[in-house]
């Protein structure tokens, strides 16, 4: 058996002037669930396209299940939900699932796949008459129709509401537990990476800026930002406030990074006072990624 499900070795890919991936390296072990996290344009979709052999790297090497990506796809060992993949018109959900089962050589029965993707009730519906979330489930059904050893999901829950998202991840989890499927999913939701991945690979500007357990990444990039104006800010005192992990002061403008905004704000009023223009925001992923890229949050 191969060592790793996916191996990225110093992989680079350019599109014209844009450097989509820049010497990116990471591995995914068999049976692992790994999230590729990053904002739009960070290189997630490029990484997925490379793993599926849809594009070739300009430099470096991509290995999938011990061989080339194209070979793994041709053998039906890989299933994928692409962001740019779509469904045909003039076909019902059952038609499409039957086709997928057939293309993978009948490794799963049509009814089983419909059930797995939560599509049994919708089997007779035309694919073009589905909601965004339902269409995603059909694409999930295609991806798992061949009982894949490795499943790639590129931003799988984009079109889904909270409930649909939960049901979707339940289905992925069921697959993973029943078959030991290796799952690689790209997302820009930190929460999703935190809840479903064993490990998170954070991409920023085409580079791997972090590769760690979700809790570690979350601690680094999560938390909240408290901004306010103080008459005489003292960085030392501010850093000592409960929850505060980082302090930035610029001409009376104070920015505090905290992992407990409630206590920080409370202490700000009680222990320091003279607080004006208070504002609490989530530390955005973009912001966090800039920090990670520059190494400040490490």
């Amino acid at each position: 058996m191969e060592r790793a499900a996916v191996e990225f070795h110093e992989v680079s890919k350019r599109y014209g002037q844009v450097r989509a991936l820049d010497a990116a390296g990471f591995t995914v072990a068999r049976g692992e669930t790994v999230s590729l996290l990053g904002h739009n344009g960070a290189g997630k979709s490029t990484a997925v396209a490379l793993m599926l052999g849809l594009v070739r790297p300009d430099g470096g090497r991509v290995g999938v299940l011990g061989g080339s990506p194209a070979k793994a796809v041709a053998r039906g060992r890989v299933g994928a939900m692409l962001q740019s993949g779509g469904l045909p018109d003039g076909a019902s959900v059952r038609d499409i699932v039957r086709l997928a089962c057939g293309l993978y050589g009948g490794r799963r029965k049509v009814g089983e796949v419909l059930e797995l993707a939560g599509l049994t009730e919708l089997a007779g519906r035309q694919a073009t008459a589905l909601s965004g979330g339902q269409a995603q489930r059909v694409r999930f059904a295609i991806a798992v129709a061949g009982r894949p050893e490795l499943l790639f999901l590129d931003e799988p829950t984009v079109a889904m509401d909270v409930e649909a998202r939960r049901e979707f991840w339940d289905a992925v989890r069921a697959c993973r537990e029943a078959e030991g499927t290796t799952v690689v999913f790209a997302t820009h939701y930190l929460e999703e990476a935190d809840q479903f991945a064993d490990r998170v690979v954070v991409l920023g500007h085409g580079r791997v800026v972090a590769d760690a357990a979700p809790a570690t990444v979350k601690a680094r990039v999560g938390g909240r930002i408290v901004r306010c104006v103080l008459a005489e800010p003292d960085p030392q005192r501010l850093l000592a406030l409960p929850g505060v992990t980082e302090v930035t002061v610029r001409a009376g403008q104070v920015e505090l990074r905290t992992d407990d905004a409630d206590r920080t704000v409370g202490a700000l009023y009680s222990a320091i006072g003279g607080v004006r223009d208070l504002e609490v925001t989530g530390a955005g992923l973009d912001e966090a990624l800039i920090l990670l890229s520059s190494g400040k949050a490490a």
Binding site: L52, L54, V73, A74, R75, G76, V78, G79, A80, L82, S84, G85, G86, L87, P88, D89, G90, A91, D95, I96, R98, L99, A100, C101, G102, L103, Y104, G105, R139, I142, G146
Partner: protein
Amino acid sequence: MLPLVRFELVRALRNVKYLVFLVAVPVGFYLMWGRGSDAALVAMAVYAATGGALMAAGGGVADDRAQGWLRQLRVTPLSGARWLAGRVVLGVVMTLPGILAVCLAAVLVGRTDLPPTRWAALAGVLLAGSLPFCLLGLFLGLTLRGKTAQLGIVVVFFALAALGGVIGQGDLPGAWQRVRELTPSHSLLLYGGAAANGRDTGLGQAGVLAAWTALAGAAVLARRRWSSDG
């Protein structure tokens, strides 16, 4: 490949517009103008065969590309070569409803009485001769976008039918007649007529059909090589 052909057949047979155009129209023409004439039988069977091949192989490909469906198929074990082969098989198979309907009308209403070997020869010629039309339709579907693709296929179909003498009567003026002799539709018409009458056909017509097949096939392969969206 077979699951794909099956899937596409179901999809095509549910398309009512398509069936009207490729089955009802040639049968209607035959009944209105050509009842009992072997020439009309062959012409309308060629209409059904060339139209069926162009539309089934190429129609919908542009939409499938635009909607990302071909990209989705690319990450399944279905190889590009098998996808192409599947579309060609589909094109050839989808000529059958129209051909059979026209032949049936000829037997039942036109009282055409051909020996079984000639029926078989006619059907064989039409099926084999639909190959260049499948490839041509596929090329158009892979090249044109959206509604333009559907329209382009219909325009090419009628242009070839009119130029080739499948629809309309008499010779074309001057140089156009020479152009006619180079169209695949005209070759198929002559071949079909010969098969129905039990005559021998020259190799010239086979040459025209073979040249169109090679040309359209090369165009499809070149198009596949340079496109990233399919």
